[in-house]
């Protein structure tokens, strides 16, 4: 099987940009802690919902490697192409998602873009209506965790295109 990157070589696409730093090799204890964080944060969350959260955060943070991984994992888990494609414009395509998913996606954006200022009460309260307290705490932890992976992916410029679904599941 050829990877998408192999396919594009013959089509005149730009060259693949090299990784800046193999951070997990240079900081193995940090990597181990990230794996522990991921395992702990996803406990109790609906896996399909968590993939939507991961894709949306990775879109906002522009993490190509994370988008490659999580769109492939979502598709492999049975998510629809339509829901993945529409996610970047979810405010205009609300009828593709449940109210619970929409509340989680909105909270994802607020917790991801902290630099614009806080997490609005109405966003938090909408999420609190759809998620019970322990589940909401896990959701916040899960949004935090994908944001952490995004930071490693973008800063170290991890290369997208080579992920096989299930590799990290």
């Amino acid at each position: 099987m050829t990877t998408p990157t192999d396919d594009t070589k013959s089509q005149g696409y730009a060259a693949e940009v090299p990784v800046r730093l193999n951070w997990s090799q240079h900081a193995p204890e940090v990597y181990k802690a990230m794996i522990r964080l991921e395992t702990a944060a996803k406990r109790g969350l609906d896996p399909a919902l968590y993939e939507l959260v991961k894709i949306r955060a990775s879109q906002i943070n522009h993490c190509a490697f994370c988008l490659d991984m999580h769109t492939k994992d979502a598709l492999a888990a049975g998510e629809s192409v339509e829901r993945i494609v529409q996610l970047a414009a979810w405010e205009e395509s609300r009828h593709f998602y449940t109210e619970k998913e929409l509340a989680a996606i909105e909270l994802t954006e607020a917790v991801t873009v902290l630099t614009d200022g806080f997490v609005p009460d109405e966003v938090y309260e909408r999420a609190a209506k759809h998620f019970d307290e322990p589940e909401l705490a896990q959701l916040i932890a899960a949004i935090t965790t994908i944001n952490a992976w995004n930071r490693f992916g973008v800063t170290c410029r991890m290369t997208p295109g080579h992920y096989t679904p299930g590799q990290q599941a």
Binding site: V30, M34, L37, V111, L114, V119, A137
Partner: protein
């Protein structure tokens, strides 16, 4: 006054994130710089709890009050922050504001000039760790003032 938010935090999440912070700090091996980085990220992310905590830790570690006061304007305060610190602070800002697009080559390369691969990997880990704490605390609106060094 708005309704209270959940203060729940899964023990496994807290332990993993504490391990992440500890490993990153140890690998960076520069406690004063670590506090400066954590305070700067917390300023950008508006995390009151984290600012309260890390300002107390920095003061406890003897970081000069002048440096803490001018940290938010480090680019203009050339005498107070050396080249290594400035490279780390620029990387902190770029990694914290990812939503505006990537980590510029110039910022990454300047950091790579001052930090070896292992140090840099741990610095990146530390910036990620404080960004994570910021999200957990701001998301749940954990009140500042409860931290004692």
């Amino acid at each position: 006054m708005s309704a209270a938010r959940t203060q729940l935090l899964d023990r496994g999440v807290a332990q993993a994130l504490s391990a992440l912070s500890a490993a990153a700090k140890k690998g960076l091996g520069d406690p004063e710089l670590a506090e400066l980085v954590m305070i700067r990220a917390s300023q950008l992310n508006h995390c009151a709890f984290c600012l309260d905590m890390h300002l107390a830790l920095a003061r406890g570690n003897g970081v000069a009050e002048e440096r803490l006061g001018l940290l938010a304007a480090w680019e203009e305060a050339e005498d107070l922050f050396d080249g290594r610190e400035r490279a780390a602070l620029a990387l902190t800002e770029a990694m914290t504001v990812l939503t505006e697009g990537f980590v510029p080559d110039a910022v990454y390369e300047e950091a790579a000039l001052h930090f070896g691969d292992a140090e840099l990997a741990h610095l990146i880990g530390l910036i990620t760790a404080i960004n994570s704490w910021n999200r957990l605390m701001v998301g749940r609106r954990v009140a500042p003032g409860g931290y004692t060094p």
